[in-house]
């Protein structure tokens, strides 16, 4: 039998505790006597609610103090809580030696369909941004303020003096992406589940699998199916975006050039021919100077006043529906967020043939996990080792997971049970959970989702390293007399308030 080379590697996983965001520094080191060089891998570096970047800079400085070289920088997906460090501490990373940058194939500028998706996303984002400039949208009772908070993921941040919240397209966001995609200084690789699993940076015994994203393929009608959901449903929403653009025109106003550009579009979106349309009373909907649709006054001023009266009159203003249609901004925001989460570069590090697995799923949502159930790769034996190719399925990898980075800060829709957590069968399962309940609560987000958290504790027998909790809090979760617990605690380093470190293998 071939000796299992993977057992010759020690992996130290450092989870930074910067707040609501991900930053993991992985150190793969051959054990004494084993062949190969050490490998440093950084997975994501970002945080929310850190406007001046103080906290994420401290993290980046600590990384540089730990190692001058990062063999691989992995960015799972382009959300601010995963990339803010590459903007706020760009100089720190520029001063370091970076071997390769790994990004999901959806970021590949050479990937046509992905680019089309991205272009659409940018259009949608700019529409949302425009809408959020309207006081009316932001104060709408349909919980639309939450939309502004979700926009933080796309780099919208708290305003500087004299600016309004949620309205500034963050130049830093683009700066981080530009830095990561810069192929002139280092190799940039765009990965997805079609890529052949490969040994990690030449280190024997560690193999990396990309479970996601799926590579997008043009489907029927030339449109795209980015989330595994119904293609047409997304297309319908697409047209909803056109409606929103119209809304933007109405609520925020457009400059003259844009008005001309949109005139036909806006006209097409009107439900009835012009002769049916009557302008509303100017005071009725409190519109600004809007490039209103063309209409003919088929209703006399008197009749118009009568309709207005039945709409709002005799204390009936509470029944008006001026803003209800803006509820679609919610759906759109969620769709945007979901698209990106599901494009996460989800990595599984396999330590030795059929050995334990470190699973870093990014922020993949349930529909991504569903696609993983069908994934299978043919894996050749290690260079120099004997044997025939093995078939490895993603299900197999999930089963062998020993360290699980909890997807999407333990949100309700990101870790399936039957097709995920419950499949992880190892008795020594450890979960790493980067989260900040305080920050999440300040945005009124439901993170971490308590029932899922309870299930995690159950599966991992208390071995859940939570970045926002103290080590005393952790110790209250385990049984001191339990040998598995003792072994786990012996592998946790907590002497630096910046991070927790867990050593596996």
């Amino acid at each position: 039998m071939t000796p299992t080379v993977g057992t010759g590697v020690t992996v130290t996983i450092r989870m930074y505790r910067q707040g609501l965001g991900d930053c993991f520094l992985l150190h793969f080191a051959p054990k004494a006597g084993a062949a190969g060089a050490e490998v440093w891998v950084l997975i994501d570096c970002g945080v929310l609610a850190d406007e001046d970047g103080t906290r994420i800079r401290a993290v980046a400085e600590d990384i540089r103090a730990t190692t001058q070289r990062l063999d691989i920088v992995v960015v799972t997906h382009a959300h601010w809580d995963h990339i803010s460090g590459f903007a706020h501490a760009r100089d720190v990373f520029e001063s370091m030696e970076i071997g390769e940058v790994w990004l999901p194939s959806t970021e590949d500028p050479g990937n046509g369909p992905a680019c089309a998706l991205k272009a659409r996303r940018l259009r949608e984002l700019s529409t949302l941004r425009g809408l959020l400039q309207s006081e009316r949208v932001r104060n709408s009772p349909l919980m639309i303020p939450s939309v502004a908070s979700v926009m933080r993921l796309f780099g919208e941040c708290t305003p500087r003096e004299g600016e309004r919240e949620g309205t500034i397209p963050s130049a830093e966001f683009e700066s981080a992406l530009a830095f990561l995609n810069d192929a002139t200084k280092r190799t940039v690789r765009y990965l997805d589940s079609r890529d052949q699993p490969a040994p990690l940076a030449g280190l024997l015994g560690v193999r990396v699998y990309a479970l996601g994203p799926q590579r997008h393929e043009p489907v029927r009608g030339g449109t795209l199916n980015p989330d595994g959901g119904s293609n047409d449903e997304r297309a319908t929403l697409d047209l909803g975006v056109a409606f929103l653009a119209a809304a933007q025109a109405q609520l925020v106003g457009m400059d003259e050039a844009d008005q001309l550009l949109y005139k036909d579009v806006l006209e097409q979106l009107m439900p009835f021919e012009p002769h049916y349309r009557c302008p509303v009373e100017p005071t009725l909907l409190e519109l600004g100077a809007a490039p209103g649709p063309s209409w003919s006054a088929s209703l006399s001023p008197k009749a118009r006043a009568r309709t207005t009266k039945s709409y709002l009159g005799s204390g009936n203003a509470w029944r008006s529906i001026d803003d209800d249609w803006l509820g679609i901004t919610r759906t759109l925001t969620l769709a945007l967020d979901q698209d990106i989460n599901n494009s996460s570069l989800a990595l599984a590090f396999e330590l030795g043939d059929n050995g334990k697995v470190l699973l870093f799923p990014g922020d993949a949502q349930l529909s991504s996990w569903n696609t993983w159930n069908l994934l299978e790769w043919e894996v050749p034996p290690e260079p120099g080792a004997a044997g025939s190719p093995r078939k490895i399925s993603a299900v197999d990898l999930i089963r062998r997971t020993q360290v699980y980075k909890v997807a999407h800060n333990c949100s309700a829709g990101a870790t399936p049970l039957a097709k995920g957590l419950d499949m992880m069968q190892r008795a020594d399962l450890v979960a790493l959970l980067p989260v900040s309940a305080t920050a999440a609560a300040s945005f009124d987000w439901n993170l971490p989702h308590q029932p899922l958290l309870a299930r995690l504790y159950e599966r991992a027998r208390g071995r859940v390293l939570r970045s926002d909790q103290t080590v005393q809090w952790l110790d209250a979760r385990g049984e001191a007399g339990d040998s598995v617990w003792q072994n786990f605690r012996a592998h946790v380093r907590d002497d630096n308030p910046l991070y927790y470190e867990y050593t596996a293998g």
């Binding site: 449109t223 979106l269 439900p271 009725l284 309709t307 759906t331 979901q338 949100s411 309700a412």
Partner: protein, 635 residues
């Protein structure tokens, strides 16, 4: 303008009185069926709705006000005058997607039809949910209908605005029966209008159904709305005959009658209708297949629409077996006893007879479903409770079940895995709500002696709750009745709290509220002498705060635990006939709700980022149609 004034022969009109009906043209289903040869012939129907004397522009009538404001387009559309002679002469204006006035006519006509079938089944006037203000409950005379409120593939009932909001949206790009990217109006779908109107009617009767404390509650709202929309198909004779002929009398096979919202479903990119009570198109083969009842589905399906469709399927299959038993003799006659139909088209006479049996069965089933509402518990209702309410209501109104309707229901529910938790057997007798222990039956009688003021008020309530009476007066009488009964409940009940499922204030539990009389209404039944009688339904509810169960220590959320009882009181003898309890002292019920609260909603991005504030009831229906594909896990 009023037609009576314009008429030269006023005296004759006065002699004749107003006509009983107004005839209006509508789409039988929705505009998409208009463009297919096969269905176009039956897709335009003329329906009869009660004549309203003072129908204003809008239309604005006794129950409804249609207000056509389209904020997204910055427009309003001229309201239709249904009393214009040209419009009257033509049974309303011609069905058209492009004319907003027809949209107004259609929502009015379909919503009125729905209201009327409700009132007929219940035997009393329908009231909308009251508007709660700081000054107390205010009467809402009219439900608002906004036919063009949203630019989205959505339509919903807003309990806060007491309004129906309909959206319009561009169809998907996939060319099918619709114009790719053409506009689809939800207010032109007969099913969608009936569905949303039913939400409003149900909310008018049971306001606490919108405060879900178990997975069945919102599902019941959806299911019930679907049931009403489905059986409304059977009130259109041409459609019914057409479909009976097409399916050769087998209503369990694929047909339009069992499908809901075809255009909505197809325009959003599904293969078939939004929901189909009988089967579904197999996504792989594209072929329609009947759905086999799955008794275990109830423990795996929690999304309100999907869960509701289990109940709809059960009711529909009860209907199919009732229809089959009613038509077995017809088929034997038509086939010389073999029961095997020859190939080819059915004889038109047979089609007519089958259609009329189908219409009758559908009416009976629909009325049974609606009447059950009077017998549902006021809080924490489950599908099982609904079955019990349905059986009890039917026993009370139709003492003699010679056609086996109740058995058909019980069997269909059992096959779909729906049964109450708390009964020993699935027989009619054990499913009926059980009478109160004899010692307590006289509780009400003792409190309300003969000739007391209270008795007079109650008698007045029953008299006034006549179908022809002024609705605002009914509302006022109900409110004063409620106040009187509240006194009774506060002063006399505490000694008997436990038996009634309540908790007396000395229990000193956190956040325990005093009993509130939440609802008073009549229920009809037929006495042993064959005479129709009215019972009084009195709902008494209570709530207290309970902590959530989650095992992590930093989570201190709490929820409202609601309970109480629904008393059904025979007004003649003033005896309590049934007491439908949701006990405040029940430990198992508390645990069930605690588990439910821990799951709260389906896991999704939606619940991550848009966590509703505590006890949020604002727009429970607005976002039920979320994104798909992200709700598989069940935590």
């Amino acid at each position: 303008m009023s037609t009576a004034e314009a008429s030269p022969n006023v005296a004759m009109h006065e002699q004749m009185g107003a006509p009983p009906f107004r005839r209006l043209r509508v789409y039988a289903f929705d505009p998409s069926l208009d463009t297919q040869m096969e269905t176009a012939v039956v897709n335009r129907a003329t329906i009869k709705i009660p004549w309203e004397d003072n129908l204003g522009l809008g239309p604005i009538g006794e129950y409804l006000e249609v207000i056509d404001i389209d904020p997204a387009s910055n427009c309003m559309y001229a309201p239709i005058d249904l009393n214009h002679p040209y419009v009257l002469a033509e049974d309303g204006i011609e069905p058209s997607e492009g004319n907003p006035q027809f949209h107004q006519q259609m929502v009015y006509a379909v919503a009125m039809t729905t209201i009327k079938s409700f009132e007929t089944a219940l035997g009393h006037t329908a009231l909308w949910a009251a508007h709660d203000t700081v000054q107390g409950s205010k009467f809402i005379q009219r439900l608002r209908i906004y036919p063009h409120a949203l630019r989205a593939a959505n339509a919903y009932y807003s309990p806060t605005k007491k309004a129906l909001l309909f959206g319009y949206f561009p169809a998907s790009a996939r060319p099918d029966r619709h114009l790719p990217r053409g506009l689809v109006f939800t207010c032109l779908s007969h099913d969608v209008v009936a569905h949303e109107t039913t939400h409003a009617l149900l909310d008018g009767m049971h306001r606490r159904f919108l405060q879900p404390s178990n997975a069945d509650m919102l599902a019941l709202h959806e299911a019930f709305a679907d049931i009403v929309a489905l059986f409304q198909h059977f009130t259109l004779p041409e459609v019914l005959r057409h479909q009976v002929a097409k399916t050769r009398g087998d209503l369990a096979s694929e047909n339009l009658l069992g499908q809901l919202a075809q255009q909505f479903g197809e325009a959003t990119g599904r293969f078939g209708a939004l929901r189909d009570a009988l089967g579904a198109v197999n996504q792989k083969t594209g072929v329609w297949e009947p759905t086999k009842p799955d008794p275990s589905a109830l423990s795996t399906v929690f999304e309100p629409h999907a869960r509701g469709s289990l109940l709809v399927a059960a009711v529909f299959s009860a209907f199919v077996s009732i229809y089959k038993s009613r038509t077995a003799d017809l088929l034997r006659i038509a086939t010389s006893g073999t029961g095997v139909l020859p190939s080819g088209a059915l004889h038109p006479d047979l089609v007519n007879r089958l259609a009329s049996e189908a219409a009758k069965s559908a009416r009976h089933v629909l009325y049974m479903c609606i009447r059950a509402l009077d017998y549902c518990p006021a809080v924490d209702v489950t599908f099982g409770d609904y079955l019990r309410a349905l059986i009890t209501a039917d026993c009370d109104l139709v003492p003699d079940d010679d056609l086996g309707y109740r058995i058909a229901f019980i069997e269909a529910f059992r096959r779909h895995g729906i049964y109450p938790r708390d009964v020993r057997t699935l027989s009619v007798d054990s499913l009926r709500w059980q009478p109160l222990a004899s010692a307590y039956r006289e509780l009400f009688r003792n409190a309300v002696p003969d000739d007391s003021e209270m008795q007079h008020i109650l008698a007045q309530l029953l008299r006034s709750w006549d179908l022809t009476n002024n609705r605002e007066r009914i509302f006022d009488t109900v409110e004063s009745c409620r106040a009187k009964l509240q006194d009774w409940a506060t002063t006399l009940l505490p000694g008997h709290a436990k038996e009634l499922g309540l908790q007396s204030a000395d229990a000193a539990l956190p956040g325990l509220h005093a009993y509130a009389v939440a609802g008073v209404r009549p229920a009809r039944r037929v006495g042993p002498d064959g005479q129709s009688r009215a019972d009084l339904v009195v709902e008494i509810v209570q709530d207290r705060d309970e902590a959530c169960s989650n095992s992590t220590p930093d989570d201190k959320r709490s929820f409202k635990f609601r309970g109480g009882c629904t008393l059904i009181i025979d007004l003649e003898s003033r005896r309590i006939r049934y007491c439908i309890r949701k006990s405040m002292g029940s430990v198992t019920r508390l645990q069930r709700q605690r588990d439910y609260e821990a799951k709260t909603m389906l896991p999704s991005l939606e619940t991550t980022y848009f966590r509703p504030p505590k006890d949020y009831v604002g727009e429970p229906f607005a976002f039920l149609h979320g994104l798909t594909g992200e709700t598989e896990g069940l935590i």
